[in-house]
């Protein structure tokens, strides 16, 4: 079994490091396994498995939430959310830094991916922060760190992927993400406040309750979206997938009829862009089916479960080990790959020692999200560094306190199951 695993993951990681697209590396590793260990994976299976991973209507939620986020972004919603965040906390020392975090939290309620979050907030906030005298690398780091909140507060693409690969309810996973998502905002705000005090970062004048109220009113329609998501789920109006489509339809209504900032032509552009963006994720999910077939044929998940329950029967310890593994792998692998290739292997292990799969979900998703801001491979580091026009090195240094804050929260999620489970239990028994 060790030899088989070494081949499978060796080829995948090798091709990834060479720079081949992730979907290609996963598919080629599966094919290499099929050739070396013939006839374990017959030829006709390969075509099947490149469909099987994506073979569920629930995954349609992914393009739907991409679409909702894209429309909101183009239709002037992010600008309104920023104005609101600025009116609320822009006057505190290091105001724009905190605004960056708060805006990400609010934006998290409308977007499902960290990339969307970072692009939307970063394009406005990083230049603004630089103008007010914040170091460019710091502006990039606070943007990158807070963009990880996006996929934890529902709607969330990683939570959808986890739920489906771990055979959990997407609706329950969404509810489970709410408190950890808010927690991420709080620990990042705390880090932002601490740094701002130490470095004596600037503040803006208080713009008054009037501006706060006005910006709150213009943002209200956008702020209603996360509420619609949760209420829609809990009230039984629609399934999670359908809520994705409803959210997109709602975004169209708000931006084209109320804000009048989304002409028909832009709507079509948004549709095409969202479709293309979601394909980057969908194709990885599709080909990952080959890995789950091979792993299942090996019986790896069950051997691992047996092994783990022999080592320790303390759920918190096992979960902490899983967290460390994911943090470590997250330094080089991005969240979708981890969630479709590695995490499904760990689910039976976790269940065997009595870890709730919903709690495992929030821990796994947060751990993989931290990977977005840890070197050497951290997509958000390079994205925000490019936005701020600085090299990655200083951004990585500035990220340290934020990463530590996120890891502290992660440890809390491991040892306090209620943080993840309280809300889904409240609504779904």
């Amino acid at each position: 079994m060790i030899g088989e695993l070494a081949l499978l993951f060796g080829v995948m990681i090798g091709l990834l490091m060479l720079g081949l697209p992730i979907f290609f590396a996963i598919g080629a590793a599966g094919a290499a396994y099929a050739i070396v260990y013939a006839p374990k994976v017959p030829l006709m299976i390969i075509g099947q498995r490149f469909v099987n991973g994506l073979d569920s209507y629930d995954f349609a939620a992914i393009p739907f939430f991409f679409l909702a986020g894209e429309i909101m972004n183009r239709g002037g919603i992010s600008a309104r959310l920023l104005r609101f965040a600025r009116a609320a906390i822009g006057h505190i020392r290091g105001g724009l830094s905190h605004v960056n975090v708060l805006a990400s939290m609010v934006f998290a309620g409308v977007s499902g991916s960290a990339a969307a979050d970072a692009s939307a907030i970063g394009s406005v906030m990083i230049p603004a922060m630089k103008r007010e005298g914040y170091p460019a690398a710091y502006a990039a780091s606070v943007t990158a760190a807070s963009a990880t909140i996006g996929p934890m507060i529902p709607p969330s693409i990683p939570l959808v992927i986890y739920a489906l690969f771990a055979k959990q309810s997407v609706g329950q996973m969404f509810l489970a993400g709410v408190l950890p998502g808010l927690g991420m905002g709080l620990v990042l705000l705390a880090a932002s406040i601490w740094i701002s005090r130490r470095r004596n970062y600037p503040s803006r004048p208080w713009q008054g309750w009037g501006e706060l109220a006005r910006s709150g009113v213009t943002s209200a329609l956008a702020l209603a979206l996360p509420v619609i998501v949760v209420v829609g789920l809990v009230s039984g109006a629609a399934t999670t997938t359908e809520i994705g489509a409803i959210a997109a339809a709602y975004a169209v209504l708000v931006t084209s009829l109320v804000y009048r900032e989304l002409p028909l032509r832009d709507l079509w552009t948004a549709l095409c862009t969202a479709a293309v963006d979601s394909c980057r994720v969908l194709i990885i999910i599709a080909v990952a089916g080959i890995f789950s077939y091979i792993i299942a044929s090996m019986g790896l998940a069950y051997s691992l479960a047996k092994l783990a329950s022999g080592l320790s029967d303390d759920p918190a310890i096992v979960l902490a080990v899983i967290m460390l593994i994911l943090l470590l792998l997250g330094t080089v692998l991005e969240p979708v790959t981890l969630l479709v290739v590695i995490v499904p292997i760990l689910v039976p292990t976790a269940q065997a020692v009595g870890i709730d799969p919903i709690q495992l979900g929030t821990v796994a998703v947060l751990a993989t999200l931290v990977g977005l801001v840890t070197p050497p491979v951290g997509f958000l580091i390079y994205l925000t560094a490019a936005q701020a026009q600085v090299r990655a090195g200083p951004v990585i240094r500035e990220l340290t306190p934020f990463v530590l804050a996120l890891i502290a929260l992660l440890v809390a999620l491991v040892f306090v199951p209620g943080l993840s489970l309280w809300l889904p239990r409240l609504f779904f028994g």
């Binding site: 099987n52 609706g171 009230s235 039984g236 299942a296 779904f428």
Partner: protein, 306 residues
């Protein structure tokens, strides 16, 4: 072991499918004096229902364990669609008699030849398909009017629920629990053991044993795997199914009763249905499908078999 076979099914590792598969594996191992061994891969890990059929037909999979009616996913086995006809069977013994009959053997034999697979036998009864609801108790077709009920997308099933006045509503299995909790649907039609095993007892208040469909678990082998066995091993493979069923058969009533008791303990109320009224309301659907979904007259023939 001389022979190692791989068996796949789509149900969870804690399901009755797994129990049936393990009973078969144990029987085969005993009959063969430990020379024939099996690995069971549950949970659809090797593929979903149609994919596993394709793998079995192609020889990529050795053995497939599935609901008898599941074979109609193959075009060439459509003659067996009749098992989805509502109220075809009067009780569980009637269903078992059909499975053991020459008529069934003839129909399955035709499917085997067309598909190039081998039917090894019948392993275990399943809970008859029934009804659980959340808001109100259903005793008559009038009670179910306007309710959104999650059902499989099998034409005879959706049609019969419509005939009763319900709205059959598609929901993914993974979302069914939440959909019932939130009120997206008012009920579902799995049998009592599945209701208890999946924890639907927590989100459903009433259970009505409509028992409008009966079924059980069968086991098939690929032609390739079958041809690779000696005549003696082939005989063991067939006998193992009978041996497993003989062991599982007496458990049916016990498991049904235990599941009903467990459901009541969880606060579910068991509602006595007006079966005659449901049957009467199903008649137009059965008449409409006779001669279309199955050969004309076949329903009556099986329904009235001795």
């Amino acid at each position: 072991a001389d022979v190692e076979l791989r068996l796949a099914h789509v149900a969870p590792p804690t399901s009755s499918f797994q129990v049936a598969g393990e009973a078969y594996a144990k029987a085969l191992n005993e009959l063969s004096g430990g020379t024939m061994e099996m690995t069971i891969i549950p949970g659809g890990a090797l593929g979903n229902i149609p994919e596993l059929w394709a793998q079995l037909r192609n020889g990529a999979l050795d053995m497939y364990l599935m609901d008898i009616g599941g074979i109609v996913a193959n075009k060439e086995a459509r003659n067996l669609f009749i098992v989805f006809a509502p109220y075809l069977f009067k009780d569980q013994d009637h269903w078992r008699a059909f499975i053991a009959s020459d008529q069934f053997a003839g129909m399955m034999g035709e499917a085997e030849t067309n598909l190039g697979i081998k039917y090894l036998g019948y392993l275990k009864d399943r809970s008859p398909r029934a009804l659980s609801t959340s808001k109100k108790a259903v005793a008559t077709p009038d009670d179910i009017k306007g309710m959104k009920i999650r059902t499989p997308l099998v034409p005879s099933i959706t049609e019969v629920f419509k005939a009763w006045g319900a709205n059959p509503t598609p929901v993914q299995a993974s979302e069914l629990y939440s959909a019932m909790q939130s009120g997206l649907v008012d009920g579902q039609d799995n049998g009592i053991t599945d209701v208890v095993a999946a924890g639907y007892t927590e989100v459903q208040d009433y259970f009505t044993p409509l028992d409008y469909l009966r079924s059980g678990v069968g086991i098939w082998m690929s032609q390739k795997a079958w041809d690779g066995l000696t005549p003696q091993q082939q005989e063991w493979a067939m006998q193992a199914a009978d041996k497993a069923f003989a062991e599982q058969k007496p458990l049916f009533e016990k498991e049904e009763a235990e599941a009903l008791a467990a459901a009541q303990e969880k606060g579910m109320e068991i509602v006595e249905p007006d079966t005659a009224a449901f049957i009467a309301a199903s008649e137009p659907v059965i008449k409409g499908m006779d001669g279309k979904a199955w050969p004309a007259g076949l329903y009556d023939q099986i329904h009235n078999m001795k």
